[in-house]
Amino acid sequence: MIDLGQALIFGVLIGGVYALMATGLSLTFGVMKIVNMAQGAFLITSTYLCFALWQHFGLDPVLAAFLVMLPMAALGLVVYKLVVERLERIDPGLTIVATFALALVAEAFLALIWGPDQRETNPVYSNQAIHLGPLVIPLAQFYAWLLAIVITVALQVAIKRTWLGHAITAASENPEGARLVGVEPARVGAWIFAIATASTAFGGAALSFLYQFTPDTQDFWLGLTLSVVIVGGLGSVPGAFAAGVMLGVTESLTTTYLSVRWATAVPTLLVLVVLTVRPQGLFTRMTRQDVGS
């Protein structure tokens, strides 16, 4: 019983972090229907940048994320303008290929700069914990989870309350109509892409003190974030959060009751199962856009 409770706590905490890592992807994949195969690479790039700030200036990774956000947003803007915008017009399939190529190039640069060794940041809270009777809540996970909630809520509010948020919703639901009322989908697209890329700063910061990382883990994180977005259902930020928690709990239960090695297979297995039985995702309603299944 204590095992189960502990597994659930770990699962929920890690799940929130997964959702945080996937926020960028649920904006690009979910809202713009662009599969950004560089999500894992953006994430791990943010992680290394946070790592560098922590290593050289002793800056806490979470605080570092607010700085890292800026170059990441700029990177997102450049990638959108140079790659995504022109390829989406020719063939969306090429965007997938090109962003994946970008991920490989980013991985190569990270490996050339920081080498292939495993790295981690360890701020003071990284090995502290709160004890609730027999149950343990690790502080690092808890802070990362809080960060996930804050970022998710902030993004949700931004989408629901701001002009840009409305423009994003409009452009994704009806590009023609949006254009008629003066919202240029291409420009909105650039903004979403920049925000999505910037948001990897926070996921990357959490990653830096929760996991050891190397440049070649980018494709693992890509697979994981794709799983979160697909299981949650495209375009739904709360759905992505629910899916993250579900993945986290399933993984944590698998670790506790089966083996830690099978836990790594959970996200991929889950995505295959979900696409087979409920391709629109677990936490979405079927809407009119989903015709043609």
């Binding site: 022109r86 290929v97 190529a101 190039v105 490996a111 995505v271 809407t287």
Partner: protein, 609 residues
């Protein structure tokens, strides 16, 4: 995609010469370095040609095809280690395993489109890598799996690997050519253009894609088995490496996606480069430099050379003026002759059909969120009857079409076509049962010629038929007859993009009639076309009625409706608010209020068009 007609004379001569040169190479040179380089080139070319069947023909990109190498390699390796089966036999089992794996993955993607396929193949590659590592009792896990050592004399060098892979490459390219020239290729290119439309024309798109993906994987799986024997040692990290997938995609994109020889050409460029880098780059950063090189190349090709080398060369050649002559000089929408007999359209007369009503719809309902788009609709359409469906924009007409043809699923209500219940059936089944539909904006397949567009519909799925010619002589003759009636015979072998809007509408109608349907649903057929074409269209519709075909017509042009329809249904807010003869309907007060508004004078029926 056009066949490489300009290459034909060259191809006839050069292909046998190239194959002969490759066959004789090991006999005349004992340079093991180049022999090994060619072995890796063959492996990549097999992978690229296979990938192209799914990625180039059907348009479904995969980033996980190196999984097939891994699956084939491990199957062969495990059979050799545990059962002492020769790897040259074991690799066939490896190919079979890959075929089954590909079929299973196709089931996963059966209900999804385009971009999910990438995710699924990527996930499958990751999953296989993880499983192979965990299941160490079978695969040796991260320790690796040693293959038996070759038993032949050293003086034969790597000939058995060389020749078996060369032979497999020839087979793969031959199969790819066969697919391309057959009905299977026709269907796959149609799927690439518009999968929903293809399904609506009766193509079992799920099976087409499954066969394409199985072919993609099988040959690469066999090659993987041979590769396993060749490298003599398997470890999960190397065999399931995503970089192999990247090289495959890079070779296809560089050479020319969708072409027959592009992937082979690409492989003969990329594999030697890859070979050079793996021997040339040294030190701790070698891996990073390789990643940088191939990631960079892939990005550059995707952004600056998206069509690939071969198609670009081809269009340069055309611009030189030697390969032209495809596009007819005819232009203008109305070079069409006056409407002749349309007997060729739709083939045999349907007089002998059973007398059950063409379409009976009861209680059809569909909500999107809180909006009731279609709210309890009943329809009765007799054979040989033209029925109009009118209503204000947003009243649910197109949604009703989409529900009847299966584009939008619903749980409520029944659809009976010619006595067959269809509300649960998939789109191809509905097309097979005799349901045809055109779109408000015509949707023709740009990858196919006009005559190919006509013959692509399928009344039933037959495996054997997939391997026959794209357009056989009987179909071509019938197709040309139809085009002749439409005055479009000069465009038979051009792309439908060369046609005017109105002409495309006519061709789309002729296309769906190829299904020999019981019911044809036309979504605003007369919108935006010239009066002359609209007249021809009306004539065509009447001739269909004479042959017993039922027609359901959504149209805003009330004169067009009045001139054609015996019966009219009026829709408003998702419900049928009136139905009856045109004269009765146009006098109906509720209809005028709902549809026309107060200020509009009703159109007098009869007499027009």
């Amino acid at each position: 995609m056009t066949p490489l007609t300009w290459l034909t004379p060259l191809r006839r001569a050069w292909i046998p010469i190239a194959v002969a040169a490759l066959i004789s190479y090991p006999l005349v040179s004992d340079d093991i370095y180049y022999q090994n380089m060619l072995i890796m080139t063959f492996l990549l070319a097999i992978g690229a040609s296979g990938w192209n069947i799914m990625g180039g023909y059907a348009g479904y990109l995969s980033l996980g095809n190196s999984a097939f190498i891994g699956l084939g390699a491990y199957t062969t390796g495990i059979l050799a280690a545990n059962e002492h089966i020769s790897p040259f036999l074991g690799c066939l089992v490896g190919g079979l395993t890959c075929a089954v794996g590909a079929a299973l993955l196709s089931l996963v993607t059966r209900r999804t489109r385009g971009m999910y396929f990438v995710v699924v193949t990527f996930a499958a590659l990751q999953l296989l890598g993880v499983v192979a590592t965990i299941w160490s009792s079978l695969t040796g896990g991260s320790q690796g799996l040693a293959m038996p050592l070759p038993t032949w004399s050293l003086s034969y060098q790597d000939w058995p690997f060389y020749y078996s892979l060369l032979g497999l490459l020839v087979v793969t390219v031959a199969v790819s050519a066969w697919v391309r020239r057959g009905k299977l290729g026709l269907g796959l290119f149609a799927i690439q253009d518009n999968e929903d439309k293809a399904a609506g024309l009766g193509l079992r798109t799920d099976l087409y894609k499954m066969i394409a993906f199985v072919l993609s994987g099988t040959f690469l799986g066999i090659a993987g088995g041979i590769y396993a024997y060749y490298v003599t040692f398997l470890n999960t990290a190397a065999v399931f490496d995503i970089i192999t997938s990247v090289l495959i995609v890079l070779a296809v994109l560089l050479g020319g996606r969708g072409t027959l020889w592009g992937p082979v050409l690409g492989a003969f460029i990329i594999a030697p480069v890859s070979n050079l880098t793996s021997t040339g780059f040294g030190g701790a950063d070698a891996g990073a430099f390789r990643l940088l090189l191939f990631g960079g190349l892939l990005g550059v090709v995707a952004i600056f050379l998206p069509r690939g080398v071969l198609p670009v060369l081809q269009s340069w050649w055309r611009r030189l003026g030697r390969g032209s002559g495809r596009t007819p000089a005819l232009a203008g929408p109305d070079r069409s002759r006056t409407a002749g007999s349309v007997s060729a359209v739709g083939g045999d007369s349907v007089d002998g059909r059973d007398p059950s009503p063409a379409l009976v719809v009861r209680g059809l309902r569909k909500s999107f969120g809180g909006l009731r788009a279609v709210d309890g609709v009943d329809l009765d359409l007799g054979r040989g009857q033209i029925t109009g469906l009118i209503g204000p924009n947003g009243s649910g007409k197109t949604t009703l079409f989409n529900i009847i043809d299966g584009t939008v699923p619903t749980r409520n209500g029944t659809i009976t076509l010619g006595g067959r219940r269809l509300e649960r059936a998939g789109r191809p089944v509905r097309a097979h049962a005799g349901l045809a539909r055109t779109y408000q904006l015509p949707r023709l397949f740009a990858n196919l010629t006009v005559v190919e567009n006509l013959v692509v519909p399928e009344r039933r799925f037959a495996f054997g038929r997939l391997w026959t010619k794209r357009v056989n002589s009987a179909e071509r003759e019938r197709g040309l007859g139809v085009l002749d009636d439409l005055g479009l015979v000069a465009y038979a072998d051009s792309s439908p993009t060369d046609l005017s809007y109105g002409q495309r509408k006519l061709v789309e109608l002729a296309q769906v009639l190829w299904l020999d349907p019981i019911l044809v649903m036309l979504d605003e057929p007369a919108a935006g076309i010239s009066p002359a074409l609209s007249e021809r269209l009306a004539e065509l519709i009447r001739s269909l009625r004479e042959r017993g075909v039922a027609i359901l017509l959504v149209e805003h042009d009330l004169a067009f409706i009045a001139g054609l329809c015996e019966q009219v249904y009026v829709m408003a807010n998702g419900a049928i608010i009136a139905n009856g003869p045109v004269a009765e309907i146009s006098a109906d007060r509720t209809v005028i209020d709902a549809y026309l508004g107060d200020s509009v004078v009703p159109v007098r029926s009869g007499g027009q068009a």
